[in-house]
Amino acid sequence: MFIEKLKEAVRKILPEVDVVIGYRQGFDPLHATPYFLDKPEQVDQLIWNPLCVQNLCSYIPFLKGKVGVIVKGCDSRAIVQYMQEKLITRENIKVIGVPCLRVISVKKVMAAINQQTVQEVTFEGDNIIVKIPEGPKTIPSADVAPRKCATCQLATPLQYDVLAGEAIQSNKPQDTFEETKEFEKLSLEERRAYWEKEFDRCIRCYACRNACPMCICQDKCIAESRDPHWTSQRANVTEKAMFHMIHGLHLAGRCISCEECERVCPMDIPVAKIKKKISMDLKELFGYEAGMNPDDTPPMYTFKVEEATIEEHEI
């Protein structure tokens, strides 16, 4: 069993670190929840399955001492990005890598079962079987995976100190930003109307920000501050849009496309869409992808005297 390999890896690392962050069962069988453990007897509580969706790296920059963390391929880009931005001391982090081909979106499962109570969840082959009051329902995992999994290239994490299990290769096609390009085919008016509608739903709960591994300001976020006073607390769409622009622009060249922001949004606002667009542009402009190479510098924090890809604009 894979979980045994994982527990073994955690047991081995535990004496070297102050805390290990993993997953355990949440409030129902469909939810996994982050678990901080520092005693060997806690290791048995650990779980591993495609519902372990959270990016546990988000905690690392705020923890002191030595930290062990369970990291999927997608999550590992956060580690790389922290290294680029010198937000962590890599030696203080023990990365327990887990190979992963696909996780499962709780929201998509809940939609597929019409929001009924989940009694049991099992996995069989490439299916998830959800037991609901009317009986077990088998859903192909691919149908309820987050969209990031469809183009995931990182089946094995970029960074790890120990790997639970074997390294595997991705079997997915490269991301070609099809969705972004498709959206750009809409007229300007349609796009504006789209965002006005989406942003208007925002309740400014800041869940997207809080879940974001790169939102390192957290409680110092300028969306809530009066000095500087970038946004007011007025509940209009302008202020909401302003918050999302702050979030988006602060992540320009830093967003690792983990889509945690979108996963946690209680209003289902496609907040990752803006970040994806910026990522696409920055890849085109500077050949840069966040969280891939620890030696890179995020493109907004550097420059070239001659920018081959930026032309002067005519009015």
Binding site: K64, E85, K86, L87, I216, C217, Q218, K220, C221, I222, S225, D227, P228, H229, W230, H250, T297, M300, Y301, T302
Partner: protein, 653 residues
């Protein structure tokens, strides 16, 4: 908060196209404004008195003056405000002249624009915080870049004023363009005879440290404390041994080197001393022409040097000098003849530039002062001078006048007549520009006493015919075509910025105009200052200039340096970045983007790492401010909240 708004009529400059009374009325309605008035000339003494009185009478704590550009009078009004005890940064200025009354034609729109400019300033002022300058020590040494007449004058004046001077000259000798001239107008003094003593003074002055054949590699720091890296180019001759005897030059077998000093009038040796009065009088090897370097064997100069000064292994050397101010006197260049295809583009040996002719006239030049034409060394009898060869010609991107060509052509024509009494000189000109003291009399003398024939018109073409050059042009006064068979044609080629002017400006952080000439701080009132404090301009690097103007600027720049060095400390600008330690999350992004290395990590007692601004190093650009995600680092006087107040004033209406 009690804001006072003072609206200036500026005579009719503002009041002519802006209804100032209406503006004042609108200002009174703005939130926070306690007082608003208009005044004829706010910058005048009574105007400033009125501000001071109003501050006291109305108990104002913020002041907005709506007048000209803050680049003009911000300092004036800050001082006014400060005299009443208010912090000078409680002052804001609304530009309703350059940005409003002078550019808009519609009075209603102008008035509205002025009102909004004031609204912007009022909102900003309400956000302003008191700021206090710190004091820092200054290094009372000065760097002078360029050893032409302007740079030498500046160096000598500074040195006589007691300052240590570092003088960096690109070529192997000081003297610049003036050292190449035969005589100077309008006195027809021998150029080197009047310049020579200055050159000697420079070399002998104990306060002047001359780096000849050296260039500026890097400039770091700020007014009062610059660190300069100077590249001493390899001369392949140990100057501490070289006596300037010239034995090496005599024996050098590479006789086809380009003579930079003589602008290629005749070839030079690969090892050379530019001219007899050179300072320092030391030899250097032009490696690209030297057999030792090209073929790897020769060694003749090393063999004949009586003091063993030749060193083929010599490398460029970088030296560091710390100074407190910089005077830039890097001079000018001239366009190449190939920019002028209609005048032969440099293909005809007997069509030469004015500076080349100057060398031919010069007794220490390649012809020993005998006028002979380059093609066959014959004495020319008919000489045509063409003024504005490239100057005032938009088609080649030089719309400006080169300033001194009219005068040197007159001089050269006079000298030609002196040298060859039976010669005839013609001058094609567009306008005769001779506005200096004694200048117009001089050009008249050329015409009336020396019989130089002036033809008003442009030369359209120059081409060879046998041994002659045919000069075709128009005589616009007679309305005819003119064709002159000349033995020699002298083109007054346009003055340009030096080829490396832009690179140097970038090292200095000073601006240059589209032609590469350096931009002064104010065209009328701050002609030798730049917008970078501590950097001053002298001579033709700022624009074409003749000798007296260059010397005057050299002295002026020196006076500016002496005046800032008259104090031991300078006040630092408090408009720099400051870190709010409570907010900073220690993400270090500001550290990486600061162009000046002004931000360092600091560990707080609780172990948190945060950013810390080194006050004396911060130049106040605000890149860190726009980089900081949490707004912890704020550029004082241009904080996020101050700029947001301005944006909101404009947009949230």
């Amino acid at each position: 908060m009690r804001v006072g708004v003072f609206i200036c009529h500026c005579g009719n400059n503002i009041a002519g196209t802006v209804e100032v009374a209406k503006v004042a009325e609108a200002a009174r309605m703005m939130p926070g404004v306690a007082f608003a008035t208009t005044y004829m000339y706010t910058c005048s003494e009574p105007g400033q008195e009125e501000i001071k009185e109003a501050i006291k009478r109305e108990k104002l704590d913020r002041v907005v003056v709506a007048a000209c550009s803050p680049r003009m009078h911000e300092v004036t009004f800050r001082r006014t405000v400060e005299k009443t005890g208010l912090n000078r940064y409680f002052f804001e200025m609304a530009n309703i002249r350059e940005h409003c009354s002078w550019i808009g034609e519609d009075k209603e729109l102008n008035t509205n624009k002025a009102i909004e400019a004031i609204k912007l300033a009022v909102e900003k002022a309400k956000q302003n915080k008191p700021l206090f300058p710190a004091k820092f020590k200054i290094n009372k040494r000065v760097l002078v870049i360029g050893g032409g007449v302007a740079g030498m004058q500046a160096a000598l004046d500074c040195a006589d004023g007691g300052l240590d001077v570092v003088l960096v000259e690109k070529s192997p000798s000081v003297g610049g363009m003036m050292a190449r001239l035969d005589k100077t107008f309008p006195t027809v003094d021998c150029s080197i005879c009047i310049l020579g003593p200055k050159m000697v003074d420079v070399s002998q002055h104990e306060k002047i440290n001359l780096y000849a054949y050296s260039e500026i590699e890097e400039i770091k720091g700020y007014v009062g404390n610059y660190q300069i890296k100077i590249r001493k180019k390899a001369t392949y001759v140990d100057w501490s041994k070289c006596t300037g005897c010239g034995a090496c030059i005599e024996k050098c077998p590479s006789r086809n080197a380009f003579d930079y000093f003589n602008f290629g009038v005749a070839p030079a040796r690969a090892i050379n001393i530019p001219f007899p009065q050179a300072i320092p009088k030391k030899a250097k090897i032009d490696a690209q022409f030297c057999r030792q370097f090209i073929k790897g064997k020769c060694g003749v100069c090393a063999k004949f040097c009586p003091v063993g000064a030749i060193n083929y292994e010599m490398k460029d050397e970088i030296v560091t000098e710390d100074v407190g101010a910089i005077i830039v006197a890097s001079g000018y260049g001239l366009i190449d003849l190939d920019k002028l295809p209609e005048y032969g583009g440099g293909r005809y040996p007997d069509v030469i530039s004015g500076i080349q002719y100057e060398r031919i006239l010069n007794a220490s030049g390649p012809t020993s002062g005998h006028i002979e034409r380059p093609s066959d060394h014959a004495e020319p009898k008919t000489i045509v001078f063409v003024s504005c060869a490239g100057s005032r010609d938009k088609s080649i991107g030089i719309p400006y006048c080169s300033n001194f060509c009219c005068m040197y052509i007159a001089k050269q024509a006079i000298l030609t007549k002196d040298h060859i009494p039976d010669s005839r000189s013609y001058v094609f000109y567009m306008d005769i520009r001779s506005p200096g003291k004694g200048y117009d009399e001089f050009t008249r003398r050329a015409q009336e006493e020396y019989g130089v024939q002036y033809i008003r018109g442009r030369v359209s073409r120059i081409y060879p015919k046998g041994k002659k050059m045919i000069v075709k042009g128009a005589d616009t006064l007679l309305g005819t075509q003119v064709e002159i068979e000349a033995d020699l044609v002298v083109l007054a080629t346009a003055v340009t910025a030096t080829t490396d002017a832009r690179t140097l400006a970038e090292k200095l952080h000073i601006s240059y105009d589209p032609h590469g000439f350096y931009v002064e701080s104010h065209p009328k009132l701050r002609p030798v200052e730049t917008n970078t404090s501590g950097v001053f301009l002298a001579g033709a690097c700022q624009g074409p200039k003749d000798i007296p103007a260059s010397v005057g600027q050299g002295s002026a720049a020196a006076a500016k340096v002496l005046s800032i060095f008259s104090k031991d400390t300078l006040e630092s600008d408090p408009q720099i970045a400051r870190v709010n330690t409570n907010i900073c999350v220690g993400c270090r992004k500001c550290i990486g983007t600061c162009p000046f290395g002004a931000i360092e990590e600091q560990q707080l007692r609780d172990g948190r790492i945060i950013a810390n601004v080194i006050e004396t190093v911060c130049a106040g650009c605000g890149i860190c401010n726009s980089t900081c995600p949490c707004g912890a680092i704020q550029l004082q006087h241009f904080t996020d909240n101050q700029l947001l107040a301005e944006v909101n004033a404009l947009c949230l209406t």
